[in-house]
């Protein structure tokens, strides 16, 4: 089976003035369809950077990334944006909803950037997702008027509206309490069956990482084999 996303010896270097920060160095990682992968590591280890590389939000300094068998590491910004829009959904620790838009408007926002004809009605689909997640009654609320757990559900609905192949979640429970956190995790995990979504979970908590089928551990931007 061919991987959906394939990272080959990928590095990402940032420059802070004169100093070189190797956020990710030499990571090779195949990601298969409908996989549930967790990326575990300490703070500053490069988890988020790796996730952004996988999510085509960042281009590698070195190495190659293929998406669906096609090399995307040198694609133009517009093409990468279209791929992100249609194939990748992000969920963040800080929810990252746009506060001046209502819940419903936030969920349909990705559809407005679609460059292909939509096969669904954005509002209907958004409402269906909100209903599935038990927050349809909050559709006309603004994000700062609902709870953290509810905001994260909205963010997940937004990530899912374009039927992405991959859902990337960066510490999605990091800002939630011990009751809501596991609820959100279960919700994300349920998407695999329901929408056949590949799930990549970034976390620094071992217990969270252990729920995945496959986990990788990174330290100082490198994959640490022996941990697995």
């Amino acid at each position: 089976m061919k991987p959906l996303i394939d990272l080959r010896n990928v590095s990402k270097t940032y420059w802070l003035g004169e100093t070189e920060v190797k956020a990710v160095s030499g990571i090779s990682l195949p990601i298969y369809r409908q996989e549930y992968l967790s990326i575990l590591g300490a703070s500053g280890s490069g988890k988020s950077t790796l996730m952004y590389l996988i999510g085509l939000l960042e281009i590698p300094s070195r190495g190659k990334i293929s998406f669906n068998g096609r090399d995307v590491s040198k694609l133009a910004d517009a093409k990468l944006s279209h791929l992100r829009n249609g194939s990748i959904g992000f969920v963040f620790q800080q929810f990252n909803l746009i506060n001046k838009f209502t819940v419903l408007e936030n969920v349909i926002l990705p559809t407005r950037y679609s460059k292909t004809r939509l096969k669904f009605n954005p509002k209907n689909k958004a409402r269906q997702l909100l209903k599935d997640f038990g927050i349809l009654d909050r559709q006309d609320f603004f994000p700062n008027k609902i709870s953290g757990g509810q905001q994260q559900r909205v963010a997940i609905a937004r990530a899912l509206i374009m039927n992405p192949a991959v859902l990337l979640a960066d510490e999605p429970t990091g800002n939630l309490d011990s009751k809501t956190g596991p609820e959100i995790l279960r919700l994300i995990e349920s998407l695999r069956k329901k929408f056949k979504t590949t799930i990549i979970m970034v976390t620094h908590e071992k217990e969270v990482a252990n729920r995945a089928d496959k986990k990788i551990y990174i330290k100082d931007g490198r994959l640490v084999k022996k941990y697995l």
């Binding site: 952004y52 939000l57 249609g86 963040f92 990252n96 001046k100 407005r112 950037y113 679609s114």
Partner: protein, 403 residues
């Protein structure tokens, strides 16, 4: 662009304006003032030009006019000022009129006192163009009477309190113009008996005119006993130069040479056009400066907005917005901001023109509207493009990490 995207852009623009009402208003203020002044200037310029052309067109030929000020001087019409209120402008009086009357080649001489004033009759009030003249004015202005009759030289001598109304004002005051004859009107505390109504001219000024003997105005209407202009009808075109010459000599005995002008009608028209061309250019330049300042204000605020909304840009980029999408979003925001300012400017200018119209023939025309729209759009684009480019070029990761 899809309509959805367009509505998103407007929702975003309006939402961010709502959050920062004061800031939005202040930012647009420069554009508002700029557009307002440009529209006003065009309105005043066009109005005045039309007014003067109409005025002169309704006058007969071989006309020589005495004006205060030296607007129509040989240096191309830029010296001194225009009208008695301006520095150095002469104020003519009856003595000048009587002196000028002695010029043999002048068929008739008509002094003119002018004020626009409310005119009331049986409870109705209307704005009228009140003119104190001699009986010859009816000849110069080609005015015949639909009802009643004009006043005569004897009325001027006897200071009769009579008036001849324009068709429109008579109609407005008395519902039907023929009813006006014999009735009393009051203007500027002066009671006047209507003895005639002019035939319809189709000209706003002429149809709202209130003509009375200039001697009658010397009471309450014109306590200083002055004239704004004095007209001559010259018996032969060949004598025009000589009449001008004689009139200048007569007036020079009492006034400084720079404080009055004696000019042929056709010359006045071309000078008026020339002067308004220059005045308009200067005023448009003033408008342009405030537009420039307004544009810089918009640029400034858009840069602040971009910084403020860095995180939002990051989020939008993560969910698939291209650089182009971000660029159009911020660009349309600055255009909306600018056009908003422009429309307020247009509205304010229209209001002001509506008010001045009572006293002065100002006008809002299609040109003003087109200019208001296109100028403010252009400014929004020009000054919005740099901040919008900055937003579009934000690295998505840095934007999304931004707090």
């Amino acid at each position: 662009m899809k309509p959805d995207t367009l509505s998103d852009i407007f929702t975003t623009a309006i939402a961010s304006f709502k959050r920062n009402k004061i800031r939005t208003v202040l930012t647009s203020l420069g554009i508002t003032i700029g557009v307002m002044s440009v529209v006003l200037l065009i309105g005043l310029g066009v109005g005045l030009k039309n007014y003067l052309s109409d005025q002169f067109e309704s006058l007969g030929s071989n006309l020589v006019i005495v004006f205060p000020g030296n607007v129509f001087s040989d240096e191309g019409g830029l010296g001194g000022g225009f009208g008695p209120g301006f520095a150095g402008g002469a104020t003519f009086d009856e003595k000048d009129y009587l002196n000028l009357k002695k010029i043999p080649q002048a068929d008739y001489v008509v002094p003119q006192f002018f004020r626009s004033l409310p005119v009331t009759a049986n409870g109705e009030s209307q704005l009228g163009y009140v003119e104190g003249v001699t009986a010859d004015a009816f000849k110069i202005l080609n005015l015949s009477q639909a009802y009643g009759q004009a006043f005569e030289a004897t009325d001027v001598n006897r200071k009769t309190k009579v008036a001849v109304l324009g068709f429109a004002i008579a109609e407005k005051l008395f519902s039907s113009p023929e009813k006006a004859v014999g009735k009393t009107i009051i203007t500027g505390n002066q009671r006047l008996k209507v003895i005639g109504v002019n035939a319809k001219k189709g000209d706003r000024e002429m149809d709202n005119i209130v003509l009375l003997p200039y001697t009658t105005t010397f009471g309450r209407l014109n306590p200083n006993k002055t004239f704004f202009t004095i007209f001559f009808g010259v018996n032969d075109e060949a004598n025009i130069a000589s009449v001008i010459n004689q009139a200048e000599k007569i007036l020079a005995k009492r006034y400084d040479e720079d404080s009055f002008s004696v000019t042929e009608q056709t010359e006045i028209l071309s000078t008026v056009n020339q002067v308004f061309g220059i005045v308009n250019a200067i005023l448009v330049a003033i408008g342009s400066i405030s537009l420039l300042v307004g544009g810089i204000g918009i640029m400034n605020i858009m840069y602040a907005t971009v910084t403020e909304r860095t995180k939002e840009v990051g989020i939008r980029r993560a969910i698939g917005a291209t650089r182009q999408d971000i660029l159009s979003q911020f660009l349309s925001e600055s255009v909306v901001l600018s056009v908003l300012g422009g429309l307020i400017g247009l509205a304010l200018a229209s209001l002001i023109i509506l008010v001045i119209r009572q006293f002065f023939p100002a006008a809002i025309n299609l040109l003003s509207v087109v200019i208001a729209f296109s100028v403010s759009t252009a400014i929004g684009v020009f000054f919005g493009v740099f901040p919008a480019k900055r937003a579009a070029n934000l690295p998505p990761i840095e934007a999304i990490r931004y707090e």
